[in-house]
Subunit: 254 residues, 2 copies
Amino acid sequence: MVCNDDGIFAPGIEALTSVMQELGDVLVVAPDSPQSGMGHAITINSTLRVHRISHSDRLTQYSCSGTPVDCIKMAVSKLSERPIALIVSGINHGSNSSINVIYSGTMSAAVEGCIEGIPSIGFSLCNYSYDADFSSCLSYVKRIAELVLKNGLPEGICLNVNIPSIHISKIQGVRVSRQAKAFWDEELDERTDPRGGKYYWLTGIFKNMDDGIDTDEWALANNFISLVPIQIDITAHHTIESLKMWDFSIPDNT
Amino acid sequence: MVCNDDGIFAPGIEALTSVMQELGDVLVVAPDSPQSGMGHAITINSTLRVHRISHSDRLTQYSCSGTPVDCIKMAVSKLSERPIALIVSGINHGSNSSINVIYSGTMSAAVEGCIEGIPSIGFSLCNYSYDADFSSCLSYVKRIAELVLKNGLPEGICLNVNIPSIHISKIQGVRVSRQAKAFWDEELDERTDPRGGKYYWLTGIFKNMDDGIDTDEWALANNFISLVPIQIDITAHHTIESLKMWDFSIPDNT
């Protein structure tokens, strides 16, 4: 099953679908419009619509009015006629490395697949342009998908794969990495509308605070494909014991 | 600084704001309409508006057209006139325990505060009704906020606090817990519109798969307030070594 967050007509999902057709029958359920930055949003205060775009023995495509996570829920519980062997999301137009994994609709689709108990991978190419060249990375995308189909993934784990935007001959291989410590230093671009009202565009500068050579940012900067295992249990287990020392009792005078 | 996902006019944020005023000056920046289930969504394809609702020495309130995460970014980089000592989000109308932490706009506001390097807590009351009684839990909310102000939190860690909807006299205390393994078994409620088109409501049944007595679900079921430390590094570090054994090389014939 294939999903994305750039919408069903983006070149990235077309490239991913073509590779997955080499591995088996494909069900595409993807947003009917771009949903970048939607994170793990779901649609609970309004309704969802789906529209079948194509149907054959080997490939069926649906667009959905909701978010990437809605698309996964729709595919798993309504649209798929048999158990789904693999969920792939992307190929995203732009990086989802380091802290971007938390904002990414592409990765949230993979995380939702993982919550549903299905092996799931998010793929992103570090090139934001609409007409980015996806052909160069497809042999690696296929290889990683094959390995996940063959080996499975541990329970509660999915993969965040980011691919440098370079020719395949320059790619140094796949490097299993950790999420780099980084953040966006926001700038709100303030503008004035024709009626004098203020409005803002959210923008910012990416700041990598992590010089570890085991990070996804290091891998990408050194022409490797980064592969980060992501977990759905986000408990900070190592801090539980120290937090238990806090005195949470309510003073008598309150 | 106070945020939420139910919108600036929800009773839960009013209760939280009143408690925070006992601890210091308060800046409220919250969505102008309900944003439940928005996860870590940000607004990048459209613009943001803010509207100042009240202003005094001790309390300033803004509504924002964006998501809970947008509100945090707006507060930190634009609206706050001095460094923010503490970010609290909520009090959510409904549970954000176990897997719900990933879908929650309330918790995503706290996670965003944590990414920005500010001690952050999300509070939720396990009662979905609009007119839930928040008064019973406020002494605990204040106590937890005081402890975080006094002790700080480790880098990259924020707190997910869920409160059972019972009288304060029945609350057994605060229990530091881990996120229970659970998921939503989705049902898509299919309906037909007046023109004959199909549409869906996303609904489902919560399934707790975890009988551990160290989980947030156990704490809540046993009349404890659950407190789960949450981390923004979602790398599954323990799986990195085994994934490095995979052979990612591309076969020659592709």
